[in-house]
């Protein structure tokens, strides 16, 4: 599975404007009419690393977008909130990521 950095062809240390230019270039070469899957992939990649906040979030939770099943198994396998280490926690606070991101993912049954 390619990382967003690979999809947009930018280095791991790329800043906002490098990512933005790479994104525009990718979109230009892959219009939504031509190949929707490819276009969606570019959009998702851009969403996950376009600014500092999203990059932090990506570092912390990148399984969420990449491996939905693993996330589900985790959510159902344990009642514990997700564990993060001290450094991640500090990063998270600094990034001002909403508290909701820290909660365990609860999945409520649909009413019938």
């Amino acid at each position: 599975m390619k990382t967003p950095y690979q999809i947009l062809e930018v280095t791991a240390g790329a800043d906002d404007s490098e990512i933005r230019q790479a994104y525009l270039q990718k979109v230009k070469n892959n219009p939504p009419d031509a190949d929707q899957e490819k276009f969606r992939e570019i959009q998702a990649a851009n969403e996950s690393i376009k600014d500092y906040r999203s990059r932090i979030r990506y570092e912390l939770f990148h399984e969420q977008t990449l491996d939905f099943d693993a996330l589900l198994d985790q959510a159902f396998g344990t009642d514990q909130p997700r564990q993060i280490d001290h450094d991640q926690f500090i990063d998270l606070l600094r990034a001002g990521v909403e508290a909701i991101e820290l909660e365990s993912i609860t999945i409520e049954p649909e009413k019938t």
């Binding site: 219009p31 009419d33 959009q43 649909e110 009413k111 019938t112």
Partner: protein, 587 residues
């Protein structure tokens, strides 16, 4: 290979069709007219009328004429046209068919594909209805694009500098506002907001209410029950609105509007721009509220915007420009005709899809959040209809998102899923987009996991599918809104019905009417006299025989055409004849 695809702006009040030829955008005309009024009517012989002629007939036969059908698109309803019930999709299809014919006549070749614009804030149901209208009209709708986005494309066409634009689109029936970033050949919509029922029609309605109040107070008469008087009041209100865009005052004069207690009622009143602007202030406020929501959605403030693009006929209302100037500190753009630029953008998008070399890529977003409901917490309590948003507003199209849910009791074989559109944490306060049922689930304990996937395609139409995680059992449907949606059989029937209606209809621009001026500026006494005569004649319609009425209508039409063409000489003969008939009727 280049394929011919036309671009259509299917408007509430006016519709247009355009194409790109050799890299140039051209709005196609019908005998000199680029704007087709979105009116549909049936004439005396049961023939269908579309455009200017239907608009003219509205004054005389409102019951046989439909206007502003776009306002009903996506609703499960019918309109009555000369005793027959039609769906909004069918009426829109009649307009589309006419536009198709205009394009075919003008281009000298058959047309079968179109890009149609819709208000950015059109819901899934309204988009679906528009697509159905295209199918009924025999047009394959290769793409629907948002009106403000189309306008941005039209403006961007010849320039390449990076810019942040705000598109303010106030038409006849809808308001849209979009924040668009243009950079490196990519036209990227960052956010959209709007109101599907806010436009020039509402301004007209305010004046109409004012006139009805005036008649009630002055004559103690309720004109709203009289359909002919109403048609004239509607027309007078719109004319007054136009005047007030240019002048501080407008005079509204309708003689012999109706009879009350045996004596004629004349409408004569003056309306000032100030009073008018007070009447519509809440509408304008609403557009600015939406504008702020759009800016917020793009994480911007007014200071971040480089230019403003004005779209839609209603932006000619002076106070709108003033307020935009106040807010942004610079004058908005208006080089392109605000009524034509949407069709032009549609043509550009059509050319891009059709394979003509156009150097722009369009990236658009959904203005709505879509989700479902589940048992959850709301205000600290368990609540069965907690909203679970899945696709968030201002997400780039196309988009696909999934969420997982679990069955709530052992042996549960069926799950009903409702899809909502909106942002309220209580799902029931949002708009229900559709419902569907997942059946045949495994007979297992509670907690059977169902993955729900929502997908918005490039047209902004929602597709829903669900999968049982264990078995991979798939259920896929496009949102069904029961009756407002056409099943394919019903589509075919509608298509035949509309086609046969057109069987008797004149095709092509055979009725070349003289160019209509926006406003008759001429006030030659002959014209004044003719207008009075027409008003008088119309007030007598109720009391005359069908034959006399026929003659009168013909004469009125001739007179109207002369007035439009400012043909004073031509007025003489029909005026005399009409005066004779009136004299004879009254004596």
């Amino acid at each position: 290979m280049n394929e011919l695809i036309i671009g259509i702006d299917l408007g509430t009040t006016n519709s247009e069709v355009a194409v790109v030829e050799q890299g140039q955008v051209r709005v196609l005309d019908d005998g000199g007219r680029k704007i087709l009024p979105s009116f549909v009517g049936i004439d005396d012989n049961g023939e269908i009328l579309v455009g200017e002629r239907a608009r003219n007939q509205y004054l005389v036969y409102p019951e046989r004429t439909i206007k502003s059908i776009k306002r009903l698109m996506g609703e499960d309803t019918h309109v009555d046209l000369a005793g027959q019930a039609y769906t909004p999709q069918e009426i829109s299809a009649i307009i589309l068919k006419r536009l198709k014919t205009i394009a075919e006549t003008s281009l000298g070749q058959m047309v079968s594909k179109a890009v149609i614009t819709v208000p950015a804030y059109f819901s899934d149901a309204q988009r679906q209805a528009t697509r159905d209208a295209g199918a009924i009209a025999g047009l394959e709708v290769v793409r629907m694009i948002n009106e403000p986005t189309a306008a941005a494309l039209a403006y961007h066409h010849d320039q390449s500098a990076a810019q942040r634009m705000l598109v303010y689109d106030l038409g006849g029936g809808t308001f849209d506002v979009s924040v668009v970033n243009v950079e490196g050949g990519v036209v990227e919509v960052l956010s959209s907001h709007g109101d599907n029922h806010l436009g020039g029609d509402d301004f007209d309605q305010r004046i109409i209410d004012y006139l009805l109040d005036h008649l009630r107070e002055t004559y103690g008469v309720d004109a709203s029950k009289d359909s002919k008087a109403m048609a004239r009041i509607v027309r007078a209100a719109e004319n007054a609105k136009f005047q007030l865009s240019d002048q501080p005052y407008a005079r509204i004069e309708e003689e012999y509007l109706l009879e009350h207690d045996g004596s004629p009622v004349h409408l004569s009143v003056e309306l000032s721009r100030m009073v008018y602007e007070e009447m519509i202030e809440d509408c304008i406020d609403a557009t600015f509220d939406a504008l702020h929501i759009a800016l917020k959605g793009a994480k911007m403030t007014a200071a971040d915007i480089d230019e403003i693009i004005l779209v839609g006929g209603s932006i000619r209302t002076p106070c709108i420009r003033e307020r935009l100037l106040d807010e942004f500190g610079f004058e908005p753009h208006g080089e392109l005709d605000p009524e034509l630029c949407v069709a032009m953008g549609a043509a550009i998008q059509a050319a891009m899809i059709g394979g003509q070399q156009v150097d722009t890529v369009l990236v658009d977003v959904t203005p709505y959040t879509y989700g479902t409901s589940a048992i959850g917490m709301l205000n600290g309590e368990y609540y069965p209809f907690t909203y679970v948003p899945i696709i968030h507003k201002n997400s780039v199209l196309p988009i696909r998102k999934s969420d997982a849910f679990a069955t709530s009791f052992d042996g549960q074989e069926v799950v009903d899923v409702t899809i909502y559109q909106g942002e309220d944490p209580d799902a029931l306060n949002n708009v229900k987009s559709g419902e569907f049922r997942i059946e045949g689930l495994q007979d297992v304990e509670a907690g059977n996991i169902i993955t729900l996937t929502l997908e918005l395609d490039l047209d902004g139409i929602l597709h829903v599918s669900a999968q049982e995680k264990e078995t991979g059992l798939e259920k896929s449907i496009t949102i069904k809104n029961a009756l407002s949606r056409f099943e394919s059989a019903a589509l075919d029937t509608a298509k035949q019905r509309i086609t046969s209606l057109f069987g008797q209809m004149e095709t092509g621009p055979d009725v070349v009417e003289p160019h209509e001026e926006e406003e008759e500026t001429s006030t030659a006494p002959e014209i004044e006299a003719a207008k009075k005569l027409i008003a008088k004649a119309e007030s007598l319609f109720d009391q005359v025989s069908a034959e006399d009425r026929e003659d009168m209508i013909d004469l009125i039409e001739t007179l109207s055409n002369c007035i439009k063409a400012n043909d004073i000489e031509g007025l003489a003969e029909p005026s005399e004849q009409l005066a004779d008939i009136i004299y004879y009727l009254e004596s």
